[in-house]
């Protein structure tokens, strides 16, 4: 810790203090919501109205604007959850534990959305709601990992112990992340290969790519907003008997 310059260390220490976090997130919230809408609205307009229909898939491809960002978020949030869990495990930082568990339900939601919208896209395009191929199966396993984390956390009464257990489960599940990502390259599957994250040029027209990237950025912002809301609840539940909560209630009364 003494390797970190004092002001920086102080900043993180202050950030991670529950009362400061609770007050700061309240102040930040309106700005985050504005930024989210500034990304979401042009993203939706660009994706649903401005972008032309796909030459093969017609208008059904417009599901891509929620399907792909949701799938990206399902992986991204998992990595945040596992990283925050590991930080909580090693340094016993309460706020890291809270970020980890607050991410789980949002990650599970995005995984669920990716699976269901994929199904709703697969039916008209592939002629089936579901196939047991590598991409779909590994994404389904991701959903079960998230649900496992949520269930395990709920099953253990002492929340510090619960956080430890959850962090270990999340870390073990990290092996699934590269499997999901590379599944379309390692195995032959019905799922199409990557169109955006290719090393050379993305094989998607710019009028379709821009709204997709806007939606991806909007979903990131959404995650920050939803995670912070969940974290505020979780923090208040854990700290209900703390002095700062009593002082805050006193001030409000």
């Amino acid at each position: 810790m003494f390797l970190i310059p004092d002001p920086v260390g102080r900043f993180f220490h202050r950030m991670a203090s529950p009362p400061h976090f609770y007050a700061l997130t309240e102040k930040l919230m309106p700005w985050l919501v504005v930024l989210f809408l500034l990304l979401l609205l042009p993203g939706l307009y660009g994706g649903l109205v401005l972008a032309p229909p796909d030459y093969q898939q017609g208008d059904s491809y417009r599901i891509i604007y929620i399907h792909v960002p949701s799938a990206w978020m399902s992986l991204f949030i998992y990595m945040v959850m596992a990283t925050a869990g590991a930080i909580g495990l090693v340094w016993r930082i309460k706020l890291a534990e809270i970020v980890a568990i607050s991410s789980a339900s949002i990650g599970a939601s995005f995984t669920f959305i990716a699976l269901v919208t994929g199904s709703l896209w697969g039916k008209p395009m592939w002629g089936t709601w579901w196939v047991w191929d590598a991409r779909l199966t590994s994404e389904l396993i991701l959903l079960f990992l998230y649900l496992g984390v949520i269930g395990l956390y709920g099953a253990i009464d002492d929340k510090r112990t619960a956080s430890k257990a959850v962090a270990i489960l999340a870390l073990v599940g990290v092996v699934n992340i590269p499997i999901i990502h590379y599944s379309v390259e390692w195995w032959n599957t019905l799922h199409q290969g990557p169109t955006v994250t290719k090393m050379d040029k993305p094989s998607i027209h710019v009028s379709m790519l821009v709204p997709l990237l806007l939606m991806a950025a909007a979903f990131k912002l959404y995650y920050v907003i939803a995670m912070l809301q969940r974290a505020r609840l979780e923090l208040l539940q854990r700290e209900r008997n703390a002095q700062w909560v009593k002082a805050m209630l006193e001030k409000r009364a």
């Binding site: 649903l48 208008d59 939601s109 959305i113 008209p124 809301q229 208040l236």
Partner: protein, 53 residues
């Protein structure tokens, strides 16, 4: 493009709008539920504090 054409989604209205509608419901729930629960908890804690005074 007319409004009707927009909602028809080239014949894929069911798939497209079900996807968007479901996403909206799930994402809204993830924001609203924690806020409602936190407000409820704050009320309970405030009540308890008043009684103990």
């Amino acid at each position: 493009m007319t409004i009707q054409e927009f909602f028809a989604m080239g014949g894929y209205a069911f798939y497209v709008w079900t996807s968007y509608g479901l996403t909206l419901i799930v994402l809204l729930a993830n924001i609203i539920l924690p806020i409602v629960q936190r407000k409820k908890l704050l009320r309970e804690l405030a009540l308890k504090q008043q009684r103990h005074r």
